[in-house]
Symmetry: C2
Subunit: 154 residues, 2 copies
């Protein structure tokens, strides 16, 4: 694990806000030369601190504005069952996030589709076709208050 100094942290914050800034712009923000910025970024990429760069889309504009949170309980919790379940869930493109969690349910999923009809189709044809699911409980997004990909760097 690499040691991040204050400049690295500032740089990570800038790149998490906008990764399309030029190194010159970054160098001005940070008070460094272009090469210094370039080398720092390279290091952060190589060490895996920066996982990658992506474009973020507007859900509404691509007609995927229906968000559901599905809680799932498995019928059994043997290694095999868990591994198989997780693989199958990860393969569903509608499932953007899946976490194994503590509490009454085993998993929480964030599912993205166009509307309730599509969600129904997803449940019937995809999710509940997965083996070893005991029970599910879904909640639906009424409004998105905040959605950020920006991890605060300590």
């Amino acid at each position: 694990m690499p040691q991040l100094d204050a400049t690295d942290k500032a740089l990570l914050e800038l790149l998490q806000n906008d990764s399309k800034q030029t190194n010159k712009a970054l160098s001005l923000s940070l008070g460094l030369s272009v090469t210094a910025v370039y080398e720092r970024i390279r290091k952060l990429e190589k060490s895996g601190v920066i996982k990658g760069y992506v474009a973020l889309l507007d859900k509404k504009q691509v007609n995927r504005n229906f968000v559901a949170f599905c809680h799932i309980k498995l019928v059994q919790h043997s290694q095999d069952y868990v591994v198989r379940f997780e693989k199958q869930v990860a393969n569903l493109e509608e499932v953007l996030e899946c976490y194994h969690i503590s509490g009454d349910y085993d998993y929480i999923l964030k599912v993205l589709v166009a509307d309730m009809q599509e969600f129904r189709t997803f449940m019937v044809n995809k999710l509940t076709k997965i083996d070893h699911i005991g029970s599910t409980h879904s909640m639906f997004m009424i409004n998105e208050v905040k959605h950020s990909t920006k991890i605060p760097v300590p």
Copy 2:
């Protein structure tokens, strides 16, 4: 709302996977000229389909690997209370996502901190300091099965 053809959709998928690809690389993938790719991207940016470009970090490497999901119920639901609550929550950097949802609770939050100690500090000093919170219920991530920012384009 702009009409997206198959090429736009393919382009959006490519850019959601890796926004650092050059236009030449994209043009090869799509079988177009560099200029055609350039103009399409410009259009997608201007119309707001592409909201922006960001660097994605590795939670573990920046010591923010503790994820909590907090369900929150408000004591009242008047316009004023809701607006104030949402503003205050959105200002907390530990809260990466916040959704108003259907069901037993009003909101679900995704909170990112270093560890349980920090989570406790967050709850005591920040979250529960927010007005009008009735009750909360937290679940903790045991394992991240999937976490993608990629919206499937229909």
